[in-house]
């Protein structure tokens, strides 16, 4: 089944004026020059010093020359294609289309059987991957839930291992933040692709690494950036500041900080691996002022962050990834509908290339298959709207209007019979009359979504992997697991 995406023919909607965009850019360069970033990655400190940047080895801090920043990020300019096990699911990134992934990587899952949340397992991850594979609005995958039943040091590999045989779509690995797991995942991807060369040509996986706000890069992520970049794997640079906690209590200040962090990551990446495929990822969000909890998807500030990142990325000429479909709701209620609809509809006119992700509750803390079905419905409406409608003579239907004339109706017209099935139909929304709906116990849409989850999990069988590939993946998994166990015992 071909994947769907947002395609908006108009200019992307920009939440910042050109002057505001320029201010964010300039102040970010100021921040990188005067404040810089700290890092625990000694190699980066050394290389940056060699490149003539102002490095304080004692404080492990790098201050960047603005001209060097501009020069290095220019090396990463350009768009590319995300490969998929089934080439029909390849995603051509061009700054004009937007593709949605599943949400990830949540430690809890909503279990309809118990009507409550619980910790997730590798088996859950397999099931959620299979579900995602069946939904055309899910164009690529994150790791929806954690493999909590696996040991920590090799959990990211397990999370990817669980996905290969359950989807033919592109996998964005977003849990591997150290060179050990990065190497293991690269080995697996190479086996599935057939060769290192084939993987470089059509990268079946991508990855991203996060700065720690404010302005810090940990050691492991930098090594992973380098290792994956050298293999031709697209690696995004992520900033996820929390307004008023790890970034200033202002939208503008949070964007300055996020942009500075992302640019610092791109400079490091392009210095370590010049020309490495990259992407810009701003997951700035707000905080609940009462509890201090993450509030992604909450209100107007989040909606602004979600498309401001795309605007900055277009300025730098690189693909972007943004948040979509988050909700603070703990069930598929009015609030979940409102927050996800705002987020999806905004992307209809301002799509980032990659949009993550569908299927969560409680501020991206609990994965929900039911909510993923509903998110796909929301996305489908927004995608269809963005595509627009034909206004040719057949569709303008002047002759039909003339034929019917004043006071008539169109129900029996051949034009009506021919076109009445052209329109969007809901899978989950209630269409009962009041009386029937009342008699049925006033069902809500999540009930229909729950049935759809069960249907798909019972019926959908993803294209299987060749047996030798499966065996080889299992072997790699076992080898890394053994190595991780050994390292643990050594500690």
């Amino acid at each position: 089944m071909a994947v769907k995406g947002f395609a908006w023919a108009g200019e992307p909607l920009e939440p910042l004026s050109k002057e505001q965009e320029q201010l964010v850019h300039e102040r970010s360069l100021d921040v990188l020059q005067r404040i810089g970033v700290s890092t625990t990655n000694d190699r980066t400190l050394k290389i940056m010093a060699e490149q003539g940047q102002d490095v304080d080895f004692e404080e492990r801090r790098i201050r960047f020359d603005p001209a060097f920043v501009e020069q290095q990020i220019a090396l990463g300019r350009g768009y590319y294609t995300l490969g998929a096990r089934d080439p029909e699911n390849d995603l051509v990134l061009d700054g004009r289309h937007g593709y949605i992934s599943s949400e990830g990587c949540l430690a809890e899952i909503y279990d309809p059987a118990i009507g409550d949340r619980r910790y997730s397992s590798k088996e859950d991850l397999e099931a959620m991957t299979r579900l995602s594979d069946a939904l055309p609005q899910i164009a690529f995958l994150w790791q929806p839930v954690s493999a909590n039943d696996k040991i920590v040091p090799v959990r990211p590999m397990h999370e990817t291992h669980a996905q290969w045989s359950n989807t033919t779509k592109h996998i964005q690995q977003m849990t591997a933040v150290d060179p050990f797991n990065a190497r293991g995942i690269l080995e697996m991807a190479t086996v599935v692709a057939g060769s290192a060369e084939a993987l470089r040509e059509r990268p079946l996986i991508s990855n991203f690494q996060c700065a720690i706000s404010p302005l810090h890069w940990d050691d492991g992520p930098v090594d992973a950036i380098e290792l994956l970049g050298q293999a031709g794997i697209p690696v995004g640079l992520v900033s996820m500041p929390l307004l008023a906690a790890t970034s200033p209590a202002s939208v503008a200040g949070t964007l300055v900080l996020a942009n500075a962090e992302i640019l610092s990551g791109m400079v490091i990446q392009q210095t370590l691996v010049p020309g490495a495929p990259t992407f810009y990822t701003c997951y700035a969000t707000t905080m609940d002022m009462n509890s201090g909890a993450l509030n992604n998807g909450w209100g107007p500030e989040d909606l602004t962050f979600e498309i401001a990142g795309g605007q900055m990325a277009r300025r730098y000429g690189v693909p972007s990834s943004s948040g979509i479909l988050a909700t603070g709701a703990k069930q598929s209620d009015w609030q979940a509908g409102m927050q996800t609809a705002f987020s999806a509809f905004e992307k209809a006119v301002s799509p980032s290339d990659m949009l993550s992700g569908a299927g969560s509750y409680n501020g991206s803390a609990v994965f929900s298959a039911v909510q993923m079905i509903l998110d796909c419905e929301v996305s489908d409406i927004a995608m269809r709207w963005a595509e627009g409608y034909s206004f040719d003579a057949e569709q303008l239907a002047v002759e039909v209007i003339e034929h019917v004339g004043p006071g008539g109706h169109f129900l029996g017209e051949p034009h009506t019979l021919q076109h009445m099935r052209d329109f969007w139909r809901s899978k989950v929304m209630n269409r009962l009359t009041w009386e029937d709906w009342d008699a049925a116990g006033r069902p809500e849409p999540w009930k229909a979504a729950e049935a759809e989850v069960q249907r798909i999990l019972a019926e959908h069988e993803p294209e299987p992997l060749p047996e030798d590939v499966t065996k080889e993946l299992d072997r790699i998994m076992d080898a890394y697991e053994a190595e991780a166990m050994e390292n643990m015992e050594d500690d």
């Binding site: 921040v31 200033p248 900080l257 500030e301 003339e402």
Partner: protein
């Protein structure tokens, strides 16, 4: 707690969802249709006036055909800018195309009862309650007749519905149930009493009105008389088309948009012939049809949403004020579907623009009103208001000094800048902010519970701008006179 000053939503983006060529194609097709198909009407006065103005009229078939050049000339007469007054002039709306205002929805015959949570037929007191709640919500700038006064006799019900609103709100009222000359005359009398004189009503029209064509292409006699009378007194008049795709319009989005546009142009031509230069606005409530039940589906899916948006592009092409149809969920309760449909519609309104976003607070495709729905929909509009207004990017907001002060690896929680600004952000009145544990222990409440509490709080606390006592008496007297006349007329029949 005084009347909340209405939000003026910035028309910041004005996205045209159809291209210039498509706009012109719709325009040309509309002119063709009006020339070749025309409209029927049961209004003899109208037929005569149009014939006097050189239009082709078939008096036998009661049908008129409009010359394209004449239509274009009449539409060009419509003033782009005008004022929608209010009982409290501070709530008046300067209609210029720079801002939009949100109205309540109307006019369902049923309401969700606050106590039973079931639907029931509405009454005049319900109308008063809805007006009071809407008066307290800054997200609302215009009030429709949100529910029918089913406890009043039909011939004078539109007057009762408006009479109920005057003490409960000092915001602009868009009267949308009066579609005959009798009620129009009564409302003008009431409006004149409140404004102080016929001249002040003209300057500060405290209410506006709109009239609907019956799709396809029929103008009933009474609405034409009503809109003529209103317009002669300076009341802004909207021209409304509400075709249903595949039933009263073709089974195509382009055909739906074209039919609605042609009908609205016919109404504009009628108005500008009868009362040249009077303020008119463009209203398309083109909607989908539920292919299963045959019911109207105003906010169902992408087609209806797209047709609503295309109407804004057409109104911009004619340089006239317009309604952007907003909300109107098909859901029977304030659930996920209602959240999705109303948010889509609201955001699309902010994206494409339009002067009046009508309207909020209903369920079941505009057939049941809900006060909880009104509060929830106003939350949707609050998010859109803040989102469309954008954020400051001055040095204080850019906060480079604060970032420098914190430095790598620190945090912003204790910064002066944070303490100064941490209350600047959106705060929800209805969304759940409990931890999972607390929410579970509380019986997993959904936002309807918070919305109901907010409705009850407003009903007990809110005090609208008071109506002077003598004025209230005068309005009651007008109401009684018309009621008596209506009863007499009923007896005569």
């Amino acid at each position: 707690m005084a009347t909340a000053k209405p939000h003026a939503y910035p028309q910041r983006y004005k996205i045209d969802v159809i291209s210039d060529e498509q706009v012109k194609a719709v325009h040309q097709a509309s002119l063709d249709v009006l020339e070749r198909v025309g409209c029927t009407t049961s209004n003899d006065m109208l037929l005569k006036v149009l014939a006097d103005h050189g239009q082709r009229v078939d008096f036998e078939e009661k049908r008129f055909f409009l010359d394209p050049a004449y239509v274009e000339k009449m539409v060009a007469q419509i003033p782009r800018n005008f004022t929608m007054g209010a009982r409290n002039p501070e709530n008046a709306l300067k209609v210029t195309g720079e801002y939009s205002w949100v109205s309540t929805d109307g006019c369902p015959a049923q309401i969700i009862d606050l106590d039973t949570k079931d639907r029931r037929y509405s009454n005049k007191q319900d109308m008063s309650d809805v007006a009071k709640v809407a008066d307290a919500l800054p997200q609302v700038g215009i009030l429709w007749q949100s529910v029918s006064a089913n406890d009043e006799i039909v011939p004078v019900r539109p007057m009762h519905e408006t009479h109920a609103m005057f003490p409960s709100t000092s915001k602009h009222i868009m009267q949308m149930t009066a579609c005959d000359e009798f009620n129009a005359r009564g409302l003008i009398e009431m409006g004149t009493a409140i404004a102080g004189s016929a001249e002040s009503l003209r300057e500060n029209p405290i209410f506006s009105n709109f009239q609907c064509v019956i799709s396809p292409f029929h103008w009933d006699g009474d609405p034409v008389d009503a809109m003529k009378l209103f317009a002669e007194h300076g009341i802004p008049i909207g021209i409304c088309s509400m075709p249903m795709m595949a039933a009263t319009a073709p089974a195509s989005v382009a055909g739906l948009v074209t039919l609605a546009n042609a009908e609205i142009l016919s109404g504009f031509t009628i108005m500008q012939t009868l009362v040249p230069g009077s303020p008119n606005f463009y209203i398309s409530y083109a909607s989908d049809l539920d292919m299963n039940s045959g019911a109207m589906n105003p906010a169902w899916g992408p087609e209806g949403l797209f047709a609503e948006c295309a109407a804004s592009a057409m109104a911009r092409f004619y340089d006239v004020a317009s309604v952007k149809s907003t909300m109107g969920t098909g859901s029977l309760q304030s659930d996920w579907t209602a959240g999705v449909q109303n948010s889509f519609s609201a955001m699309s309104s902010l994206l494409v623009g339009g002067d009046f976003f009508t309207g909020i607070g209903s369920l079941h495709s505009d057939s049941i009103y809900s006060l909880m729905g009104l509060v929830l929909d106003s939350e949707i509009m609050e998010i859109m208001f803040e989102w469309a207004n954008g954020y400051a990017f001055d040095e204080e907001a850019l906060a480079v000094g604060t970032i420098e002060h914190v430095g790598p690896g620190g945090h912003f929680l204790g910064e002066d800048h944070t303490l100064t600004h941490m209350r600047d952000f959106f705060r929800s009145r209805v969304m759940n902010r409990q931890t999972w544990e607390d929410w579970d222990a509380a019986g997993r409440p959904d936002p309807r519970i918070a919305a109901e509490a907010e409705v009850r709080r407003i009903l007990s606390e809110h005090e609208p701008d008071p109506l002077p006592e003598d004025l209230e008496k005068e309005l009651d007297k007008i109401m009684e006179t018309y009621e008596a006349e209506a009863r007499e007329n009923e007896d005569d029949d």
